[in-house]
Amino acid sequence: MKKNNSFLNRLFMVLVFVFLYAPIVLLIVFSFNAGNSNTVWKGFSLDWYAKLLHDRLIMQSVYTTLLVSLLATVIATVAGTFAAIGFYAMRRKLRDPLMTINNIPMMNADIVTGVSLCLFFVAFFGLWSDFASWFNGMQHLVRLPTRLTMGFGTLLIAHICFNIPYVILSVGPKLRQMDKNLVDAAMDLGCTWMQAFRKVILPEIKPGIVSGALTAFTMSIDDFVISYFTAGSSASTLAMTIYGMTKKRVTPEINAISTLLFVTVLVLLAIVNIREARQERRRSAELHRT
């Protein structure tokens, strides 16, 4: 009876995984299609990969996506870590409402975040335009640009905006788990608080920082809606480009880029996991040796 259950269970799980991966596998398979469609197989070919590399529009948006994601991740990680430390050191009464506000971009529907930022930028540009005109009119030394539009800058700000909460959510628990006496011990042994921070707090929360950064990067790469509303017409992420293409004609170049993306992510995750597993094995071997 138990064996039967186990088989059915495994079967169900396998079916779910098949469901999750079938579309992706099909995408990958058809990226090697010699023909022009996603439904009719015409033979093996690497044409689409070649065409992909030459397609300026797609490559530009890949570049934009990677740049925005990396920049936003780095900035968000640094800012988020400091913010998390700041929150950790606050009194509960002050921290709770601030944390609630912090969680809003995470919990809110993407479209609401995108829309609100879009409105904010528009309003801000309006005000700026007035201010710049007035300022330019007042003097002739510095000429401020009067017309600001949405573009890479606003896109970056938006990404940083929804990335920081994930970093804070990742670093925060590590701070709470940290033994409070560690910092006191460090200071007792002669560290200034800056040194204590560097030598004691940072190493303790490093796993949280790393996982927060990874999460932020994932969220940036994955995003479509928020980018759609805050990139304006001058910048375009990969998702936005694909969306534009689906309205007209889609070529299997999309499949090619999907495959590349998938393989890259797979390799990255595999490396991370193998490293983790190896560290675990080393650690338990050391324990057993003693």
Partner: protein
């Protein structure tokens, strides 16, 4: 020293005021303004004309959430019973699609569901369509799969299923094993242990999962455009239209967004009071 450290958060607090609070305030202002700038409740009244859109979005989101629950809970439960190696690999496999872009995942279904897409090709090859025609006396060349509400629900389930699995799984995995043994010890068989111990204790994870699937589902717009063909308008499409689409009416869009935010606040409140595991769910 702790006091000094709390100053670290000041730059971020300023950032939040600028880019989180201020935008929301602006949305609220827009929601209550008319095109000429005065205060009005007309926007909310106009939302009434779109009641169909509201009900459609809610209906589809609820269906998608239920399906995710029906699939996600058993998967989480079964995963929790496997060995640590399987669990680790399974976790990676479940999260891997999340690393690919949301749009790509949705796009991948288009070619499968198209009229002469892969599924229909399969149905043709195995003679299912001919059989269907014989049974129902119809004259179909293919099943209409894409550009239906069903396709939209499928897209939602596909994209958000991991968000249901992760919180439930992370709560079940943390359950004290001795509670299950105690229940067995007191006479509960496997079914009763599940019903009386595991299920009630996993409810916080279920609530988190429901929130994390329902909110994006009810507000989606790309999925409905790509898989729904744009014929069945949903809340996300409606909002997008008001800002970047044909009907330019940011005030109305803001009003709808405000309603969406209220829904999210309610979900957040429920999750805070009863939910658990959402932190783990958004982490690796």
């Amino acid at each position: 020293m702790k006091n000094k450290l709390s100053h670290f958060a000041i730059p971020y607090v300023i950032w939040m005021a600028l880019f989180v609070v201020a935008p929301i305030i602006i949305v609220v202002i827009y929601a209550f303004s008319s095109a000429s700038g005065g205060f009005t409740l007309a926007n909310f009244a106009r939302m009434g004309t779109y009641a169909v859109v509201f009900t459609r979005s809610f209906k589809l989101a609820i269906i998608a959430t239920i399906i995710c629950l029906l699939i996600g809970y058993p998967v989480s439960y079964m995963m929790s019973k496997e060995g640590p190696r399987f669990q680790r690999i399974a976790m990676v496999l479940i999260m891997l699609p999340m690393w690919m872009n949301f749009l790509l995942r949705t796009y991948s279904w288009m070619s499968i569901l198209e009229n002469n897409g892969l599924l229909n090709q399969l149905f043709q090859k195995i003679g299912l369509i001919v059989l269907y025609n014989q049974v129902f006396g119809t004259d179909l060349q293919y099943f209409r799969l894409i550009n239906t509400q069903g396709a939209v629900v499928l897209g939602m389930v596909y994209n958000y299923l991991p968000f249901m699995i992760l919180p439930i799984y992370s709560v079940i995995i943390k359950l004290d094993r001795s509670l299950i043994e105690a229940a067995h010890d007191l006479g509960a068989n496997t079914f009763n242990v599940f019903r009386r111990v595991i299920l009630p204790l996993s409810l916080p994870g279920v609530l988190s999962g429901i929130t994390m699937v329902f909110v994006p589902s009810v507000s989606t717009f790309a999925i409905s455009k790509m898989l729904g063909g744009g014929t069945e308008m949903m809340l996300g499409d409606l909002i997008e239209q008001q800002f970047l689409g044909g009907a330019y009416n940011p005030q109305l869009g803001a009003a709808i967004s405000l309603v969406m935010m209220v829904i999210v606040v309610v979900c957040m409140w429920v999750m805070n009071r009863f939910g658990e595991g959402e932190e783990q769910a958004v982490m690796m």
